[in-house]
């Protein structure tokens, strides 16, 4: 052993505390163990991915005069044409026709994840507080942890609606303990949420906007709308925080993505932030982190957005995921999971189920049920990962996205069998 190996390596304060995010473990599990049927990974369905369409578009781009610009650096903020398409896309949602923003309010990012990270990095110092839902997107909890930020749950009513009386009290309490200045953002996953599958009703958003207007500082809301495009029937009627008059003048960061609805492997997301000061800070950070998302993948997505093939693909993919979700839900039901006291709703968008086990049931990584599932060859996301604090242990997140219909049925059987077995031990 070289003597120098033993010398201490000094990391930054936060860098030294970085630990392996659960998302990385779960993705590696899913990718490296093909026998394990994964209801965990938030992957989309390989067989439904638009590979032929992408091939077609690349051939068109290659035939376009000056098409090689797509292999050249683009702008830090993203392709102007793609940013215009993002605005058009947002304005197509009901009630958002007159959304007050243009392409200069849009930033293209490496999936919506980079937008969430940058927004948090720009707003929060270590020790600051971000309000999150109960449950919330577990990867975002790890972003907060990595930046030393404290997640605090938004008070909620049974059923998941925001408890505004509780929120008022929480804000008063933070004020009393001189912690209100540490409160830096509210993070909402608002459409077919990961993991709760809920949509936040417009009334809750309006009430939140009205409450935030009473504060004597500007508290940004980060709205994560990653699954908004993946509705099954009609798009959810609630307007976004950047579209609601109750949020006018409040700093809002709306983040969406083309990963889930189009191609996770292209890693193109976007942020719309009409507050140009806040957007400018994110742009400056982006200029340091990578000075622009890959121009090539942006160009592909811009093309299909502009000529309608994106919308066409979505019309095909929405019933596909609706079917898969119902197949998973039906199979769990047929395997007798409801009789064991487990409950869930089948959502009208996305490809996730948020399943509640009986109260005393323990679904955590180290619990017998988790090991029983691994032994039976099925993987899920333990629900306790998705809570800021006071985590219940009896939830799981199941994804119908990645497995074939046959394998979904098989995975449901294995899952229910492990549940039955864990009941009796």
């Amino acid at each position: 052993m070289e003597p120098s190996v033993l010398k201490p390596l000094r990391y930054s304060t936060l860098g030294g505390q970085l630990t392996d995010p659960a998302i990385v473990h779960l993705m590696a599990n899913a990718l490296s163990n093909p026998d394990l049927l994964s209801l965990a990974a938030g992957f989309t369905d390989n067989l439904a991915l638009p590979l032929d369409l992408v091939k077609e578009v690349v051939a068109e781009v290659a035939a376009r005069p000056g098409g090689s610009e797509t292999l050249q650096y683009g702008m830090n903020s993203g392709r102007p044409g793609l940013r215009r398409e993002v605005v058009r896309l947002l304005r197509e949602f009901p009630g958002e026709e007159s959304l007050q923003c243009d392409e200069n309010s849009v930033l293209i990012t490496n999936g919506s994840q980079q937008a969430l990270y940058m927004a948090t990095q720009v707003l929060c110092d270590p020790g600051d507080i971000v309000l999150v839902e109960k449950p919330t997107y577990f990867v975002y909890l790890e972003v907060l942890k990595g930046l030393g930020v404290r997640p605090v749950s938004l008070p909620s009513l049974p059923g998941g609606r925001i408890d505004f009386e509780g929120l008022r009290k929480l804000i008063d309490r933070l004020g009393d303990s001189d912690e209100l200045k540490r409160l830096k953002a509210v993070y909402l996953v608002s459409y077919h949420a990961n993991p709760s599958t809920r949509c936040i009703p417009e009334e809750d958003k309006k009430n939140l906007g009205n409450l935030l207007r009473t504060l004597d500082f500007a508290l940004p809301v980060i709205e994560d709308a990653a699954y908004r495009d993946l509705y099954f029937g009609e798009s959810h009627p609630a307007r976004s925080i950047i579209g609601l008059p109750e949020f006018a003048g409040l700093p809002g960061i709306y983040s969406g993505t083309f990963t889930k609805p189009f191609s996770t492997g292209m890693k193109v997301g976007y942020t719309c932030c009409p507050n140009l000061d806040l957007l400018g800070k994110m742009l400056n950070l982006k200029g340091q982190q990578d000075f622009g998302t890959a121009n090539f993948t942006q160009a592909i997505i811009e093309t299909v957005l502009a000529d309608g093939r994106y919308a066409q693909y979505l019309r095909k993919i929405r019933p596909h995921y609706a079917r898969k979700l119902h197949i998973l839900s039906d199979a769990l039901e047929e395997a007798g999971l409801r009789q064991l006291g487990w409950t869930w709703d089948v959502p009208d968008g996305g490809f996730l189920l948020w399943v509640r086990a009986p109260d005393e049931f323990d679904t955590r990584f180290d619990a017998p049920f988790y090991h029983a599932c691994i032994a039976d060859g099925v993987l899920y996301v333990p629900g306790d990962l998705c809570f800021a604090e006071g985590s219940p242990y009896n939830f799981v997140r199941l994804s119908a996205g990645v497995l074939s219909n046959e394998r979904l049925v098989e995975a449901a059987k294995r899952f229910a069998s492990a549940a039955r077995h864990s009941e009796t031990i």
Copy 2:
């Protein structure tokens, strides 16, 4: 105006200080003003970009059984196949055949820029010190500024070699003022460097390794080898810091890229870091920032690396850039720039010229010469941006990458004419 607009928005300590990086300005200038002949942008040549090859590869991928996995999420660390190809590529450089690393030492990033950012974020707190060359890559100086880190110049001899006696004294001085604990990394641009166009001789690297071994803490070296593949004759004989025995056991971060040699628009770079503790910290940060670079662009590059089409393309592109550099240099010479006392070497790699004006000449953004160039329709990078401190004002960085041969000649004429004109005022 909404009253709430006037309420203060509270950023994080560093977020609030973020300013527009020069790279973003320069890129936006180059992209938005086609009449301006840009010798500034570090862009590659659109016409030489491998668009037909990429089209061909995408069609092959689309025909491959299971090819749609390329549109799916990949691993946080990058495609295993691409990481193996990176190791193979590194081992092909002379003297690096037995490089001690495998695909588990490799991390795929969004260009090498993300690797530089993450390495610095993992290592440095605000107020820490990173040693940089004189001159150094100006975008990295902005990364340091954005993270609140102090760049300090490595002492150097006339001609650019490292002044080891000076470095010793600098380290002693830092020790005396109790600042040595703030010293967190050394950043080297080692092959056909941006902007100096120098290669660091192997002897300097060896001496640096030997000096670092005498310290009682492990000081990581970040080696930025972005232009290593773009040599004209033979690859530069100096081994990398991760290949040299003098660095064995020292933490080294080697960062390379497929942007400059293949496609800037695909934004795929890589890091090889045999110190798995340090790499692990970067991986964990990557897991939070975007949990993986776009799988699709990685798959394209993996394919051409594996079947030799990458090497073939490089054999075509190297003489192309050599020609362009010579055209620019010859045109500047013919336009009489050397007679005005300007000097430069034509490097044997990359596509940059690092040009020294007479001592009293001022090339900064606000100087008459800069405005004369804009008025004449030619853009350059002022050299003073590339220094940590004690910046001379009489350098410019010129890039032969982006303009056609005819436009290079025209740009050189404009540049020399502005230089002559600025002489006489």
